[in-house]
Amino acid sequence: MLILQSIILGIPQGALYGLMAFGISLIFRTVGVMNFSHGNAGMFSAFIALTVFLLTQNLLLAILCAVIFGILLGFLIEKFLMRPVKHLSHGGMLIITLGILMILEGLAQIIWGVNPFSFNELVSGPPLMFTLGEDGLLILPLNDLLITVISLGITILLAVFLKVTKVGIAIRARSQDEVGSKVVGINTNMIDGLVWGIGISLSALVGVLIAPKTTVTPTMMMNMQLYGFTAGVLGGFTSLYGSILGGIILGILEKIVGIYISPDYQLTIILLIIILMLAFKPSGLFAKKFEGRV
């Protein structure tokens, strides 16, 4: 019974991890950078949403603003920070994303301080209950259900976008072969900017969705980013949909560890998974083959 409950509670959480991983691996696959500022970019967007919400009391508008801000932030990062070193050094790009991580955290501290802000849930209402058997009672909060639906919906939407639209095909072409895509007339700088925009707006969305649970603080997304990486590692960064599945597995695992072992060890055990996965099967569970992109 407990295990079913933890699965049900794990899925919404895992869907968010998956969404996080989706953004990270979209950027990684296309531009070739592991974005270590992903979480904090989402955190900053969540603060934007909070500010808009406090001003207008309109949650939908706030979320929309956060997502748009995420797209803008992604564009700016690509244009001014990533482009100069794009072909020079992977180490340099990595360190720059770490720099962005620190800067965003510092900026958030200056602007909004370190005290946590509470954030409204999307929907509030009595949780859904299911009774199974005699003493079985499963609980699914309404907000969690909505989060799952939104996450999966966005994923499917993006999948379709990448599969059928012209821009989506251009993105996939860019991720496969930069020179080749230039030859056929794709503006790769534009595509890179767009991918950064989409990736970070996903993180912004995650930030807004998780905010009711974590409250809005400058460090709210630190663990989220780690989970995003873990999900990506589980699913394999080379496969976009693997990361969603990886995220959901991770979410369930986390709840199981939390219930059966101890919440204190949740993060440690999850992180061990990363290291073990990377050591023994770096391609991830769902990727076909390890391309070893550096």
Binding site: G91, G92, G99, L101, G106, Q109, D264
Partner: protein
């Protein structure tokens, strides 16, 4: 860093400590700077020298700190035992995190190390015995006095930096760099990159562990966030700002990253903002870091006053020789002996002194001028080989030398070729000593900044001159020709090299029918065998290759040169 430098650093450190002996707050900061410098040096070994970016290095410090603290508090064991345990544990952990590193590159490794760093932090926070999130307090400090604590840290820092330099200059250290630069090439040389990376991880983990152990007994209390993600990122910032792959980088970065917060402590600006901005600015604009900038600065400017002084005093010195005026310019020369004339022309960065040991040739008069723009001769504006040759012709005309054997070394070889090919009647025989080839000698563009730098840096100049006379053991003559080289006209440091690329006498050479001897040192780094053969192609000449000397047989084996010269002129 050699023993001497290490001692100098130690002495400076002690003096600094004595200077602030009453300011325990400052001494504490100094201690922290040293501790983080140790950890950063460790990180630099794995990230800077081996090229494996790690963002979980705080974890090694955590292990070191918690091990010594727990052992000291639970068992009361002395520090030297505790630190051994800390080293062993840190090394083991380094081994563990190095294992995935065997298969991972770049970003994957970064993720793994980040996860590792956070995992260790969380683990310590979860263990009740270690005080959980609050951490451990009242850890016994090394000494009561902050000064002694500082001294202990200083000794650790100096010794560890010295050891690091030993490691980095050992074969293993070279392998680190090979793996960083190209794993494929390293493998081709029979190196196992995975083993080397693991090695680097363990070494750097040990540095982290020691730094952590020092931290816990210096500060007296530890908590998991002290060694968390922020610390790891700070360590990375230190080596990026200070200088990747530079031993001084860790220390410089540590001064900035550890010291800066105390400067800004009154303001409300979070340090992460400043560090992040610094990190990005450095990666984008100064990727080599401060250490490199300082090195460049000191090479360019620090030696300048000294070079100027040497030059001034050396140019005042009276030389034993005569002057003759050619086209209104005074030319300094030395003359020795009686009989037919031999004119000896020195090379770039040269002077008459290069021929000092071979100036007495029995049965001949030797004329050894300083070329215009060199040594004690006057300066001219038009720097070209032909102009130099014209001045040599004028010099011969003034001294009524109608025919002479001309010896030319290096740039002087080009000058004497120009002279011989354009005025064949003046030159009865031509001796080219490691001469610039007949079709010009091109200096790679990237060498020019270094040539420029030699103007203001005596030791650089000395080293490069030493490099072109590998077999020369006479230190006295070396230091004299170095001073002579400084007398050269300022612009000529690079202009001469450019002039050498601007001529081509291949066709002119056919006009010269007299015998030519080309002497080439096998260890010559400037003139190749092909160049020498190419030079002799259209000449009536012979090539003499000497196995044991480099570019400057005149100074390296004067007696042999003299013998070859006498044989040739008497032929």
């Amino acid at each position: 860093m050699n023993m001497k430098k290490a001692l100098i650093v130690l002495i400076i450190g002690v003096l600094l400590g004595v200077l602030f002996i009453n300011k325990s707050f400052l001494l504490m900061i100094f201690s922290l700077v040293l501790i983080y410098a140790i950890a950063a040096t460790g990180l630099n070994i794995v990230s800077g020298f081996t090229g494996q970016v790690s963002i979980g290095h705080g974890a090694f410090m955590a292990v070191g700190a918690y091990t010594t603290a727990a052992m000291a508090m639970d068992f009361g064991t002395p520090f030297y035992i505790n630190i051994l345990a800390a080293i062993v544990l840190a090394a083991f952990l380094g081994f563990l995190i190095g294992l995935p590193a065997l298969r991972l590159k770049g970003f994957y490794l970064a993720i793994a190390t980040m996860a590792f760093g956070v995992a260790v932090e969380q683990l310590f926070a979860a263990i009740e015995h270690f005080g959980g999130h609050i951490g451990m307090r009242n850890i016994p400090r090394f000494f009561e006095s902050d000064f002694y604590i500082y001294l202990l840290n200083l000794v650790f820092f100096v010794v560890l930096t010295y050891v690091a330099s030993l490691i980095l200059h050992s074969p293993v250290g070279e392998k680190y760099k090979m793996v960083r630069d190209s794993e494929v090439a390293a493998r081709a040389y029979g190196i196992k990159p995975s083993r080397i990376k693991l090695n680097a991880f363990i070494v750097s983990a040990i540095y982290g562990g020691i730094a952590g152990a020092l931290y816990s007994h210096t500060v007296g209390y530890i908590s998991p966030p002290d060694f968390g993600m922020n610390t790891s990122l700070n360590l990375l910032s230190m080596i990026v700002i200070g200088g990747m792959a530079s031993l001084e980088g860790g220390m410089i970065g540590s001064i900035i990253i550890t010291g800066l917060p105390f400067l800004f402590s009154r303001g409300n600006i979070p340090m992460t903002l400043i560090f992040g901005a610094l990190l990005i600015v450095f990666v984008l604009f100064f990727p080599q870091g401060i250490a490199y900038g300082l090195k460049l600065l000191s090479m360019k400017y620090l030696g300048r006053p000294w070079a100027l002084l040497v030059r001034k005093s050396w140019s005042r010195r009276a030389e034993d020789g005569k002057y003759v005026t050619v086209n209104g310019k005074k030319i300094f020369y030395r003359q020795q002996g009686n009989g037919p004339a031999i004119v000896m022309i020195h090379g770039n960065f040269g002077s008459h002194r290069w021929y000092e040991k071979v100036s007495s040739i029995e049965g001949y008069t030797t004329y050894i001028p300083d070329l215009v723009n060199f040594g004690k001769s006057d300066r001219i504006d038009n720097v070209s080989i032909d102009t130099y040759a014209d001045f040599v012709k004028g010099f011969m005309d003034q001294l009524k030398i109608e025919k002479a054997v001309v010896v030319g070394h290096s740039l002087g070889g080009a000058v004497s070729m120009s002279l011989a090919f354009r005025y064949p009647q003046l030159v009865s025989k031509l001796v080219l000593v490691d001469s610039a080839p007949v079709n010009g000698l091109v200096t790679p563009e990237e060498n020019f900044p270094v040539l420029e730098m030699m103007k203001g840096n005596v030791s650089l100049l000395r080293n490069s001159l030493k490099g072109i006379m590998p077999a020369c053991e006479d230190q006295k003559i070396l230091s004299e020709v170095v001073k002579d080289a400084l007398l050269m006209k300022d612009e000529c440091f690079s202009e001469n090299a450019r002039a050498l690329s601007r001529y081509d006498y291949t066709e002119l050479a056919e006009r010269y029918k007299n015998p030519v001897l080309f002497i080439l040192g096998k260890k010559d780094m400037l003139i190749t065998h092909d160049m020498a053969e190419n030079t002799l192609k259209n000449l009536n000449g012979r090539l003499e290759v000497l196995d044991h000397v480099g570019h400057s047989v005149i100074l390296e084996d004067s007696q042999l040169f003299k013998k070859l010269l006498i044989n040739f002129v008497n032929l």
